[in-house]
């Protein structure tokens, strides 16, 4: 789209005079038509990917396998969500063994990669909540590493308040949304 230099005669004028004040002319041949983005990177397959014509998702999470640890099915490994108290980033005692199991799982399977997603409830500034979500994810990562997970196995990302699992506006909903999710990549 081409920009034509605008004409900019300005006649300032009040009261009674019949002349017109000229506004800089709008110079747009095709105004108001933002064009959608074009980039090859959008084409990459990804979790929860882009949406196609018929409304289906390109690819969803493929994270349903339960890993084996030392030949024994560790039921802790089925637990993938760690909940947090309001405004806190400390892993609660009740979730310690879950995190530890995943940490051992990673330690004994060096090729595994885990993404820890930090989430918050909806209260307060969304950008500040991104920072709080990261603190939660980092707290989980530290515990995973205590159990022997390597730094390059655990990626941390924060979604702040952007992806609630519960949509209400009550403490009950908020408690479900203050969480870290473990996603094997």
């Amino acid at each position: 789209m081409k920009l034509v230099p605008a004409l900019t005669a300005v006649v300032v004028l009040v009261s009674g005079c019949s002349m017109f004040r000229d506004d800089p002319a709008l110079d747009l041949e095709q105004d108001l038509v933002p064009v959608p983005s074009e980039t090859a990177s959008l084409n990459a397959p990804m979790d929860g990917g882009f949406i196609t014509t018929d409304g289906t998702v390109v690819s969803g999470y493929q994270d349903s396998q339960v890993f084996q640890s030392g030949g024994v099915d560790d039921s802790n490994l089925r637990e993938r969500v760690i909940y947090f108290d309001s405004d806190a980033d400390t892993v609660r005692t009740e979730f310690m063994s879950v995190v530890a199991s995943h940490g051992r799982q990673l330690a004994s399977n060096p090729s595994l990669r885990l993404r820890v997603e930090g989430h918050t409830d909806e209260r307060g500034s969304s950008s500040y909540n991104i920072a709080l979500g990261e603190r939660r994810a980092l707290a989980v990562r530290r515990l995973l590493m205590v159990e022997g997970a390597q730094a390059n196995q655990v990626i941390v990302t924060s979604l702040g308040e952007e992806m609630p699992v519960a949509t209400g506006h009550s403490e009950g909903a908020w408690a479900q949304n203050r969480r870290a999710e473990l996603v094997y990549e």
Binding site: M1, L13, V14, S15, G16, C17, M19, F20, R21, D22, D23, A25, L26, D27, L28, E29, D31, L32, V33, P34, V35, P36, S37, E38, T39, A40, S41, L42, N43, M46, G48, F50, I51, T52, T53, G55, V57, V58, R115, E117, E122, R123, G124, S125, S126, S127, Y128, I130, A131, E134, R135, I155, V156, T157, S158, L159, M163, T167, H169, V183
Partner: protein, 429 residues
Amino acid sequence: MTRWIKRMGTAVALLALSWSTQAELTIQVTKAAPNSMPIAIVPFVDQTGAGDLSDIVRANLERSGKFKPLSSGSLPSQPTMDQTLNPAQWEASGVRFVVRGQASPTGRGTELKVSIYDVRRQSDLGNWRFEGGANTQRRLAHRASDAIYEALLGEPGAFDTRLVYVSTQRDGQGLIYQLNVADSDGRNPFAILQHRRPIISPAWSPDAERLAYVTYEDNNRMAIYVQELRTGQRSRLAAYAGINGTPTWSPDGSHLAVTLSKDGNPEIYLLNAGGGGERRLTNDSSIDTEPAFSPDGRWIYFTSDRSGQPQIYRMSASGGGAERITRSGNYSADPSISPNGKVLGYVTQSGGSYRVAALDIGTGRSRVLSPGPLDESPSFAPNGSMIIYASESYGSGELGAVSLDGQVNQRITLPSEGVREPAWSPKRR
């Protein structure tokens, strides 16, 4: 119903979608100024066949909450611009000012002439002529509205501007996030990006031609993108490990301030607008985020919890020591600076309610403006008259806007979709 896009080989397809039936924002004045000005807007003469542009002007002025336009039914007469007005007739209708207009075709598009007649002085207060290319009629009407607003209120209008916002829809598989741009009256909405993962923190370039925003499209990692609205071309500005967030442009457009946590915890960095040139501005073990430039480019305001709770600070735009700006309460975040640099808009919490407040930077006095309980993301209109913000109060998310004096309130909604992360564009060129 929104129609989804074709996903062809490349994502050019990505957003071919919304040309079809994109939902429009509804902007409703829930509280008008008590002294809103009665005004008559006579239907414009239309020689273009494009339709009467006075409807747009009337709706704009009414939506500002500062004018009370007569309904077309209660106009005593409908004089054209060439005809002589009968002042007594208009005085009896209770208006001091009468707006008339005429739209005519030109070689390249449309010309709109507008005048304001002062009933008491029995003379024109002002006349304007606006000219534009093809398909600029609505913009001409917005520019005319800006001129009328400024002539009668003494401050510039903000009608010839746009809004960016994120809409969300839920389907069986979760939320769909869509980044949209619309005119200030909610019309002409366009989707520029859509994804299953959140799209957040859209920020206008000073020329209102580009947007920076944050997505999780790169393998679920945060990344900051800059997108040209006219061409759709976009580039990735930052994709470090950890947080890549809160892009905001320097007033001259040369740099963006962003939040990165690649060095351990969230800190504020400066990047060249074209990428690279990274410079770290804060160095503190606490959270430092949400940078906002002062309009003169001297200061960066930001949120930090270095005192134990989030508060707003400012530092020189080249970094260095920070001065605390918000002093009361235990939660102050998300700074937005008024175009004249004198007022800080931010989110404050008290009694469990999060509301938008405005603080006079000179005096330190602040005033809560929004009702709460879950308000956030304040953004100033480019004339400083209003703050638009996000509100979760009614379920899936909607927007509100409030005038700085608290007298005018608007409720801004999308039918059957959530809406959040609003940002008001600078004045368009």
